[in-house]
Symmetry: C2
Subunit: 201 residues, 2 copies
């Protein structure tokens, strides 16, 4: 059985909830009380020394990091549609997973945490990172419907949540029409699930 | 033929140079003049809209992002030793690629750019990120020789350069004995190559 160590308002957790739903995989949710500091307790640090959610437990196999969990689910349960066997599309997916782990996390996601939960951040640096990555993604999606190849991949799932949550960080996502059109394609996928605060058509 | 768009002092480029050497793959180096701003010119932005190095060109297939290039080379040329077929080790590798793209880039790598090239950064935040990630990796390597499984993988190659360059960022890497022992294992790999400023035994 799959258990997701989860926090409802986390966009990183939502990446996993979305892929689990698109793959139609049953799973249990184990809420981690971030306000109460449960993520820094010994039980959770054993699962993930970084003290973060999400963590996935699949019959005792423990995986930390939202991108890594997407890789695991795609490879183990997704078939070739979700995990191509060719090196070139795999590398393109990996490049967007890096973008999700770095620029998306340190731009739109960080601004949201600041605006929504009051975390102190360097807002100028986060704003600059957000503008750059949103501009690059919007331009990329001008020429193609999905981030890699001609169908949805875990690249889209990794990048999507914090872009769709960007308005909560004070960003004007309406200025990026190709991103909005991509949101609409993602929302139309069978099994799509949303979360509070997320962009809606 | 493989061409690496490279900058000699970049630890991200060194990840690629190191794996190319370990895999004994011939390649051409195309230096990108970062001081002259070549990375922001139209030719390079066409290869990588993020305006960064490294970029790999393998007979016309263009790959941006150092982690993605490692994935490409491992999958295409490395065999199962470098790219396991099982979902669980792949996910563990992917988790460390995220750590390389985020915490290692925003901790030790950022401090080095600040100390070495004078880039303005939030030194307190970068120092905190560096301390956390170095502590976690040192603890992880107390129980195992390599970051994932029982042999070297691209997880090690992705994380190694900016840890071995950490002294250039003013960090005392000697405080992490398990990391030092792991450096020694990496330096002993057939085909290992170093770069200026890197930790040496």
């Amino acid at each position: 059985m799959i258990t997701l160590y989860d926090m409802p308002l986390s966009g990183n957790c939502h990446k996993v909830r979305l892929l689990l739903s698109l793959l139609d995989l049953p799973y249990l949710i184990q809420a981690v009380d971030l306000r109460g500091g449960e993520q820094r307790g010994p039980a959770h640090l054993q699962r993930n020394p970084f003290g973060q959610v999400p963590v996935l437990d699949d019959d005792g196999l423990i995986i930390r990091d939202s991108q890594a969990i997407l890789v695991y689910l795609a490879k183990r349960y997704g078939g070739e549609q979700w995990w191509p066997d060719d090196a070139y599309p795999l590398a393109q997916i990996a490049a967007w997973l890096s973008t999700a782990a770095n620029e998306v996390a340190n731009g739109p996601a960080k601004l949201r945490v600041h605006h929504k939960f009051g975390s102190p951040i360097d807002t100028a640096a986060a704003g600059q990172t957000a503008d750059k990555v949103l501009g690059i993604i919007d331009h990329h999606l001008q020429r193609q419907d999905w981030l890699v190849g001609d169908s949805v991949s875990i690249a889209d799932i990794a990048v999507y949540p914090y872009l769709a949550l960007a308005p909560e960080g004070g960003l004007d996502i309406g200025a990026f029409p190709n991103i909005i059109a991509w949101f609409q394609r993602i929302c139309a996928l069978p099994g799509y699930v949303t979360m509070p605060g997320m962009w809606q058509a």
